[in-house]
Symmetry: C2
Subunit: 193 residues, 2 copies
DNA sequence: TGACAAAACTAATCTAATTAGGTAAAATAT
DNA sequence: ATATTTTACCTAATTAGATTAGTTTTGTCA
């Protein structure tokens, strides 16, 4: 009977598949261990606790999202870049509902690592925004407003909070459009209030 | 030894105090029962399960938020009403971080009741928006965009995701301002695309 | 080959939710 | 007022899941 040879990455990959398939609330060490062909205490050789594992999974998710959003910005600038990045964000989260759930709910405790995991993402956004010549303060405001919209939109879609039949993508694009217009209002105002 | 005389409302009130004080993740039946001067199985006379209790707590929260936002709109119209409502939303959620956490995380399962609980809120928003003469489709888009921004903003504040020192209220107001401008773009366009 | 570290195991423990079944206070009916 | 029923509460037991302790196995490297 040969050893399986688990690694953190293999475990996280499996955990991701599980949460995306059966929902974040149904991830238990037993379910995960079964999928990996191992007994649940064995997972403690790789993670100190379930909470540790979920934290790692959250960071794993942010890294992937960061990669996708950065990819989307390559070769584009200004509005095109932003639209593409926003679409990439939406697409990733819709593909990974369970994972995104964990990305949201498990960053309560350790904000340092979370900030580190999302800093690349924010840096990318900052680079794209630099083309708009925003004042420093307005750049911060703008990033916050975009992040809020994205975060909230996906959350509401994920929880089926948009009752009726108007297209999810249409409303999303309208939202991005509104934010882009707001961005123009503050373009080139280097001494913004 | 006389009976305590619990009711659902008393239990929910206590539960709210607990989650706002020590965080949603630390609410257990034992903690709640201790606070109420009762043994944990006794709570099953009032709720079928912890999940039931949390669901009720979520709805309880939405009702209160609805009330506060409606109050904020009284005697105001158009931009003033919207600004006031948004501020009320932000204030409520900042006062009730734990409760809001549960309001977010526990509407995964029963969307019907959640929709019922938030329908009054959405109706209020719709009334205020009617002054703008938006096309039907744009009204839906607009509500979705506002909700997304509010939801996301509060979420990010709650999770300390806004690293630096620019004022939380300022960015919020900038965001509301951007959305209001976007709203004007579509004002009086009765045949919006 | 032999020794060490790591990865896996089984068995046991702990904590929290839940269930079963009993008792007594309160509410209701006679 | 008394009898009956309901129900809020209790204790004790069960279950599920995370975690810990201690052991065995396996791969690696001197």
């Amino acid at each position: 009977m040969s050893r399986i040879g688990l690694t953190k990455d293999i475990i996280l990959q499996s955990a991701m598949e599980i949460v995306d398939k059966i929902g974040a609330e149904n991830l238990t060490l037993k379910v995960l261990a079964d999928k990996l062909g191992v007994r649940s205490p064995s997972l403690y050789n790789h993670f100190n606790s379930l909470s540790d594992l979920l934290t790692a999974l959250m960071l794993y998710g942010w890294k992937q999202l960061e990669y996708r959003v950065m990819q989307a910005a390559i070769g584009k600038s200004k509005d095109d870049a932003i639209k593409s990045m926003c679409a990439a964000y939406l697409n990733f989260t819709l593909e990974h509902l369970g994972l995104f759930n964990i990305m949201q709910s498990y960053n309560q405790h350790i904000s340092q690592e979370t900030i580190a995991a999302t800093s690349g993402l924010i840096e990318t956004i900052r680079q794209v925004l630099s083309a708009y010549n925003l004042s420093e303060k307005y750049e911060v405001h703008t990033i916050r407003v975009f992040r809020s919209f994205l975060q909230g939109y996906v959350y509401l879609v994920q929880h089926d909070s948009f009752g009726n039949s108007v297209s999810i993508r249409d409303s999303f694009n309208v939202g991005v459009g509104i934010l882009l217009k707001g961005l123009k209002e503050n373009e080139n105002i280097k001494l913004g209030k």
